[in-house]
Symmetry: C2
Subunit: 325 residues, 2 copies
DNA sequence: TATTATGTGTCAATCGTTTGACATATAATT
DNA sequence: AATTATATGTCAAACGATTGACACATAATA
């Protein structure tokens, strides 16, 4: 593959000159510029980013670490992060931990080795930065933050409240909350708190369920949902902590011949595409994923410029009424 | 950040020695090795992959270029590719073209600049390799192949046949095929051929529909589906060319009060997760995405080793019976 | 004893860029 | 005429690894 040197020779100048026209810095004569550009065209020259990054001591790469790619929430998050990153001339190094701590630590090292400009961590919340002696900005999304990382999350508590209030207003008097993950201590836990508080305020009968699922190891919640409904047979409203669970709740209700929304109402969380493709479509709490991604990239850039950035950012959620309520 | 040199100084040896223990090549005394390893620990040394790649003239990066990340088929493909790549010590550079030719070409350049080991292209089929003077192995998935690239696809024609035969065996006599993309000339077009041939062989009344959707610009097919059913009101079987379309077909049938599978049966294509989360669950044609991803990575490796690889690989599909038939 | 194989380690060039420090030439300003 | 900007280029040292070519012991073999 052609190098700067080849181009320089072909154009009859030195590498510095070529580098100058590429990065257009310093003074360059119009004629010289022409010659150089022609040479580049002819040789199909493509600058070597590795050499460039090495020399400049910075890459334009952002590492994204997620526990799961197929999960619609993460797929959406990745998609939004990619768009935003591309708009800022960053490229994406994609890491999938499958929720294994070992892989996560390996990926952190990998990002470090590749000198990424920043890391967006949506995986877990070990005290990464301290542990790994990282001097790379780390943004977490919907995870508890460590010392020195900035955490972005949506207002899970309000989301829980809104979902629950909506169910109660719609006439539900016996509620279940289906949470996704047990024992993981995540911001999403606040959804349950919101649920609990609203139920208590209204004196509504309620029950919270915890899935046995290891974090995202499987996305099959059917048995968990069946069990929940079996335990509370006269339930008339379910607040699921993700649209994925909500979708499966629809299926289980269908098995049990519970009519949605007449006999039972369902509210999901996330507002990912799947909520629009089920029958009926899912009423859900919208997470501002686009904004979350956008802030994440912005914070990485600010952090690189040594600007002060907040430790935590909590974004508002909203209710999207569809057909399950 | 600590460099080889720092480690060498701390351990009282030269950089060559340190490099030797890292890559363990040549002879190294046990004591020396110890000392070096301690020094690395203490300094939290993490080799600079950029320098390493530059020096070795190879990266361990694979570029994945897709038109859409949120689309469940691509999400799954990306996920499988990532797993397989990780297992082979490759990292992933993720590129989302949103089906824009301009972005696609930019991303090809980006991959080239970053000296990726290979490119998995699932986006379109311009004559990339020739156009861009690429000397990087390119594997396409479910796209027509260019000169010099290897194409991996599933047996779309057989898939079309199987879906259609299944509908006919289940008693359908008036079929529609809903294809996803118009005028794109993709391997997936063969699904329609399979459909057509089987219908003709059985003398079954049939109709093929083409979506007006620009390729993946939106994933909303509702109006298209409504229109199709309006044109063939007595349809009793639909073969949708993706599970995403099938899911939306379920929704439309529900609007129109057509009972599935009693009055109308539906078969999808892809067998992505969404097929399991709709109500009813979608009977579909399974694409062996895992195997496709696995072959893609293998071919890239073979290609780097200068081994001969096939020009085309067609993998078998299978029918997964669920609840829409 | 001379020769060869086996360990252990050092030197310095190389990968493809960027960039500060210098030249040199021309034009404009005192 | 001397001084100072303004253009236009060149040189060579980084950046942080890898690696072939050597050097020098020590042990084994002829």
């Amino acid at each position: 593959m052609a190098t700067l040197k080849d181009v320089a020779e072909k154009a009859g100048v030195t590498v510095t000159t070529v580098s100058r026209v590429i990065n257009n810095r310093g003074y360059i004569g119009e004629q010289t510029r022409q010659k150089v550009q022609e040479a580049m065209k002819e040789l199909h020259y493509q600058p070597n980013e590795l050499a460039r990054s090495l020399s400049m001591k910075r890459t334009n790469t952002i590492g994204i670490i997620v526990p799961h790619i197929v999960h619609p929430y993460f797929a959406k998050l990745i998609s939004e992060l990619e768009s935003e990153a591309a708009a800022h001339k960053y490229k994406i190094l994609l890491c999938n931990t499958k929720a294994e701590t070992k892989k996560e630590l390996e990926y952190i090292d990998m990002c470090k080795s590749n000198r990424v400009s920043g890391i967006v961590l949506c995986s877990r919340n070990v005290d990464i930065k301290k542990m790994k002696n990282l001097d790379i900005p780390v943004i977490t999304i919907e995870r508890y933050l460590d010392a020195g990382t900035v955490g972005i999350e949506c207002d899970n508590y309000q989301g829980g409240r809104m979902a629950t209030e909506h169910l109660i207003e719609a006439g539900c008097r016996n509620l279940i909350h289906l949470s996704g993950i047990k024992n993981e201590n995540m911001p999403a836990d606040a959804r349950a708190e919101g649920f609990r508080d609203v139920c208590k305020e209204h004196g509504i009968q309620h029950r919270e369920m915890l899935s046995n699922n290891k974090i995202y190891s499987t996305m099959d919640y059917h048995e968990y949902i069946r069990q929940a409904i079996r335990e509370v047979p006269d339930v008339d409203g379910i607040f699921a902590s993700s649209d994925l669970i909500a979708a499966q709740t629809i299926q289980v209700c269908n098995e049990l011949n519970l009519k949605i929304p007449d006999q039972i109402k369902i509210v999901g969380f996330d507002d990912v595409d799947i909520a629009k493709y089920t029958t009926p479509m899912i009423t859900t709490i919208h997470q501002p994923v686009h904004e979350m991604a956008s802030w994440a990239i912005e914070f990485i850039e600010k952090s690189l410029r040594k600007e002060v950035i907040p430790e935590q950012l909590k974004l508002p959620v909203s209710l999207v009424k569809r057909q399950t309520t």
